[in-house]
């Protein structure tokens, strides 16, 4: 097993390990910037450990979908991660059009999550589900604007092509367009992972929540796995954005792995900065926010098509 073939696997494992760190870093940065000490960066690890040993409470009305939520969430996020060139050059599994597979794998997780929320019959979780699907539909749209732009730019149909070696050359020729696309992607990342300004993971008022409110009834290991899965999702997307902004395909394997770790931490910091700098939007404003992300990418796409 040469390092070239090994690095993608290592990178995946690295991501899986470091994933809980990213939200931690984000919240910590935010705390520091707002002048508080805040919780330590490895807070999430501790929470997960605690949760894994707590008991589970299932609501009486719930059925299979509710039980399925953590399984699908983790499984499909990992499956999606297989398609991302985390190490900056190649993903573990790639095929033409796998960007569709990537997006739809995440959609699968969302589908199950929403059904689980509706399974409880609670109006709050129904509300959360409704918001989730609303914003997700728009994010899907914006996401594919960006992916289409990248595919036009690189003449590639797979993520490892889009975000891998071929992109590096294009940066020199089409910097502004790709810059816009990358910015758009970052905006979407915040929305997709329900971070501020779309959602505030730290709030405790159900009426304002989106993601959190959908998992109100989950507890113990279930809740833990769900939280872990969403952190993995965050870091995978973060890695993807990082790879696009900062193609490292030419570096040596070890360096690329280091770059991955650095990228994850940096993105975490970046998310924290954003969260500290702007407050959560009123819900009716969110579509506008997502649309702005889409608009940026669309502008890039048009520039590339021209």
């Amino acid at each position: 097993m040469t390092p070239e073939t090994a690095t993608p696997v290592v990178a995946l494992l690295l991501t899986l390990v470091l994933a809980p760190l990213v939200p931690g870093v984000a919240t910590r940065t935010r705390a520091l910037l707002t002048g508080r000490r805040g919780s330590p960066v490895w807070q999430l690890y501790a929470d997960l450990w605690k949760l894994s040993r707590r008991g589970i409470v299932y609501a009486r009305v719930t059925s299979a979908p509710f039980r399925l939520v953590p399984i699908a969430a983790l499984g499909s996020v990992v499956a999606a991660a297989l398609l991302v060139p985390l190490d900056g050059r190649a993903s573990i599994f790639a095929f033409p059009g796998d960007i569709v597979a990537f997006a739809y794998a995440l959609a699968l997780a969302r589908f199950v999550l929403v059904l689980g929320a509706l399974d409880t019959g609670s109006s709050f979780e129904g509300m959360g589900a409704s918001r989730e699907v609303t914003f997700a539909a728009l994010v899907e749209f914006a996401l594919f604007v960006s992916l289409a732009a990248l595919s036009v730019a690189t003449h590639q149909l797979s993520l490892s092509g889009l975000a891998g070696a071929p992109l590096a050359e294009r940066w020199t020729s089409a910097t502004p367009a790709l810059g816009m696309v990358a910015a758009g992607l970052f905006i979407l990342l915040l929305a997709e992972c329900s971070r501020s300004p779309v959602d505030d993971p730290t709030t405790h008022l159900e009426l304002t929540m989106i993601h959190e409110v959908m998992i109100l009834d989950h507890s113990g290991p279930d809740l833990g796995v769900i939280l872990y899965a969403s952190s993995v999702k965050l870091s995978v997307l973060a890695a993807l954005v990082a790879r696009i902004v900062w193609p490292v395909a030419r570096l040596a394997p070890a360096a690329r792995l280091g770059a991955l770790a650095a990228a994850l931490v940096l993105m975490g910091v970046l998310v924290g900065v954003v969260e500290s700098s702007m407050a959560r939007l009123k819900l009716p404003k969110v579509p506008l926010y997502i649309a702005s992300g889409a608009a940026l990418s669309a502008l890039g796409l048009v520039l590339l098509l021209r």
């Binding site: 894994s52 040993r53 707590r54 589970i56 409470v57 299932y58 609501a59 009486r60 009305v61 059925s63 299979a64 979908p65 983790l74 499984g75 499956a79 297989l82 599994f93 095929f95 033409p96 059009g97 569709v100 597979a101 997006a103 739809y104 794998a105 699968l108 589908f111 929403v114 059904l115 509706l118 399974d119 409880t120 019959g121 609670s122 709050f124 129904g126 589900a129 409704s130 699907v133 609303t134 997700a136 728009l138 749209f141 594919f144 604007v145 992916l147 289409a148 595919s151 036009v152 003449h155 149909l157 159900e206 109100l216 009834d217 113990g220 290991p221 279930d222 796995v225 796409l301 098509l305």
Partner: protein, 652 residues
């Protein structure tokens, strides 16, 4: 030959229903005959699909238009498979379905159903104008009679009327279409017509426009879709399954057949098809989101999926116009595969919805809830269908949408203006997201949570007649989704047949590889989920579990009435799209309710028809019963003619 036997068995099945009426055993014999006939037909079609050869027979005829040609080529074979599978399953399902309604006499509708399937087969097998139009109209009339099965309800009568008028307009468009095609030849077999028109530009444009109208009505394209929701809602569910699964697909067949007839279509047509497809897809799913009647909702999803199919078709047309045969084959193939897949999962969904309707007696989402516990099998099947139609891996919907995406993205990489087609990609993604929202709503509100009405609370699992066929279709969905190599090469070869390009083996090989990779991804996904399932099992085993009420966020107890309703679930999303979402909302202090309406039917078609009627009423004054007035008409006419005579040189 097999096909003829199959047709014969179908007709025989109808005859059995007529002969035995309500006597025992009729239904069983009927089911057996239909299944046997369909098996024959599928065998015949499969034969053609495997060795790509075209079989056809000629029947001497003395009607204008020369001999009748009937046969199977790859294009019709693909549709034959869909027709026979969906037809047979729905027919069997129908037996159980009609038994719920005691006072309705079921045997005529069963007989009509078998004949309708036969008519569909004839439509896709006809190779010359007269038999095609004949079978076409038989199909239309058959569907009318099936829609009117429950004609004691005014609703179904209205639906039937709208349907038949719309479809007749379409028929007249085809009338004109073939009249233009047959303008310069006395031999109206498709083969001869194909030679006739490749040259003529204006005629070809006329043909293509008329095709969009004539076949568009049948396919339910926006804005010609308006007949579709009422008809699908009014018809019995197995009929809706057939219509939505197969009958409207005949419109797609027609478009592909016309493309095959007139050769590479001009650019404007490709762009138009792509635009209409995108529009239908987005608006269809958006309007579906606004519905509360399960069957209407599914009907609007048919509009959406036809839109997706047309996006593929448009890519194919554009590619062949720009001379990119492989991409053309890809686009047409994607359209074909999505046609087949939609036939499968949409009929599956209709069959499940029908079971729910029969068990609960309502199609209104707001009356349902908690059915997952009452009818787990139906719930499972419905979930499969829903995941498939949303396009989630590892089900068949994903495979065809993946092909469509690939077509659009590859178009985006070409040098010509063709690359602008990539702009449709995000729209397709939006459609996917909206569909997910919509089916999360249906599945969640109808099957999960707690029952919203007593009838929903007392529902039970339906009989095997209903569950069996649905189960088989669900299996088909899963198989295509997990092992796409079974179908992808076939449809791509058919696609290149439609583009009338020689099949390029390297391209097929490449597509085969791609299909295997999709299969690989499906396997990986399943594996990942399995592993995390094991992990969860282990984690859960280590802690103790208990069951209690839902966390009510401080409220004492959660009641069924506190659940989120379908209206409110869809509201924020519809809000984003404002007026286009075609929904009237009533907000009250304690109540939020929304009632959907069809922007085309209620805002355009009905008003126009009303104004035509008003104009007609104004003309009534001409016939006021005075003999002297009538005599004045006569002398007036005569005077006019004499004037014409004088003008046209009546003088010597």
């Amino acid at each position: 030959m097999l096909l003829w036997i199959g047709l014969g068995l179908l007709v025989l099945a109808a005859a059995v229903q007529v002969a035995l009426r309500r006597r025992g055993g009729a239904d069983t014999i009927f089911a057996i005959l239909v299944l046997a006939g369909s098996a024959m037909g599928i065998a015949a079609a499969a034969g053609v699909l495997l060795d790509g050869a075209t079989v056809s027979t000629t029947i001497a005829s003395v009607l204008p238009g020369g001999d009748w040609v009937v046969g199977i080529d790859p294009l019709s074979a693909v549709f034959l498979v869909a027709i026979f599978v969906v037809g047979a399953m729905s027919a069997v399902y129908g037996i159980g379905y009609m038994r719920y309604d005691r006072e309705l006499v079921a045997w005529p509708s069963h007989a009509f159903f078998a004949l309708e399937v036969a008519a569909l087969v004839l439509v896709v097998c006809a190779r010359s104008v007269v038999p095609f139009m004949g079978a076409w109209e038989l199909m239309a009339i058959g569907s009318l009679l099936l829609i009117l099965t429950e004609h004691r309800h005014a609703e179904s009568r209205r639906a039937g009327f709208i349907y038949i008028v719309a479809t007749h307009v379409g028929t007249l468009a085809l009338f004109a279409l073939f009249a233009v095609l047959a303008r310069d030849t006395g031999d109206w077999s498709f083969g001869a017509l194909a030679q006739g028109t490749h040259a003529a530009g204006a005629a070809r444009n006329a043909v293509l426009v008329l095709a969009l109208v004539g076949f568009g009505v049948k396919a339910g394209l926006f804005p010609l879709h308006f007949w579709l929701p009422p008809a699908h809602a009014a018809a019995p569910s197995h009929v809706s399954a057939l219509m939505s699964g197969v009958v409207i697909k005949i419109g797609v067949y027609g478009l592909l057949r016309v493309v095959w007839l007139v050769g590479p279509p001009p650019l404007w047509w490709g762009w138009t098809v792509l635009a209409i497809g995108t529009l239908s897809a987005v608006l269809g799913v958006l309007w579906a989101l606004a519905q509360h009647d399960v069957k209407r909702l599914l009907a609007y999803h048919s509009v959406e999926n036809i839109g997706i199919i047309l996006m593929g078709l448009g890519v194919g047309a554009l590619a062949s116009a720009y001379g990119q045969p492989t991409l053309a084959a890809l686009g047409y193939g994607a359209a074909l595969l999505h046609t087949v897949n939609h036939a499968l999962f949409k009929s599956l969904l209709f069959l499940c919805a029908g079971a729910v309707y029969r068990e609960t007696g309502t199609r209104d989402l707001e009356q349902l809830g908690g059915l997952a516990r009452r009818m787990p099998v139906v719930w499972l099947l419905f979930a499969v269908g829903a995941a498939a139609i949303v396009g989630l891996p590892p089900l068949n919907g994903f495979v065809s949408e993946w092909l469509v995406y690939r077509g659009l993205l590859q178009a985006g990489q070409s040098a010509e203006p063709l690359r602008l087609a990539v702009l449709a990609t995000p729209a397709l993604a939006l459609v996917g997201g909206l569909a997910l929202a919509c089916f999360a709503k249906v599945a969640g509100v109808a099957f999960l949570g707690t029952p919203r009405s007593s009838r929903a609370a007392e529902a039970t699992e339906p009989s095997i007649w209903l569950r069996g066929p649905a189960f088989l279709i669900a299996v088909a969905c899963a198989v295509i989704g997990i092992v796409p190599p079974l179908v992808v090469p076939v449809v791509l070869r058919t696609g290149s047949f439609v583009a009338s390009e020689p099949v390029d083996s390297s391209f097929v090989a490449a597509s085969m590889q791609g299909a295997w990779q999709v299969a690989g991804f499906a396997a990986l996904l399943l594996a990942a989920i399995a592993i995390s399932a094991l992990v969860m099992r282990w984690l859960r085993a280590r802690v103790q579990r208990r069951v209690s009420d839902t966390w009510g966020c401080g409220y004492s107890r959660v009641t069924a009435r506190m659940q989120y309703t379908a209206s409110s679930f869809a509201e924020p999303l519809l809000d984003v799209f404002g007026r286009a979402s075609g929904v009237r909302t009533h907000r009250g202090a304690t109540v939020f309710h929304s009632e959907p309406f069809d922007l085309v039917l209620d805002r355009a078609v009905a008003p126009v028809w009303a104004s035509i009627q008003r104009a007609a009423v104004r003309l009534r004054g001409l016939q006021q019963g005075r003999l002297r007035t009538y005599l004045v008409y006569v002398v007036g006419t005569l005077t006019a003619l004499l004037a014409y005579l004088v003008i046209r040189g009546g003088a010597r």
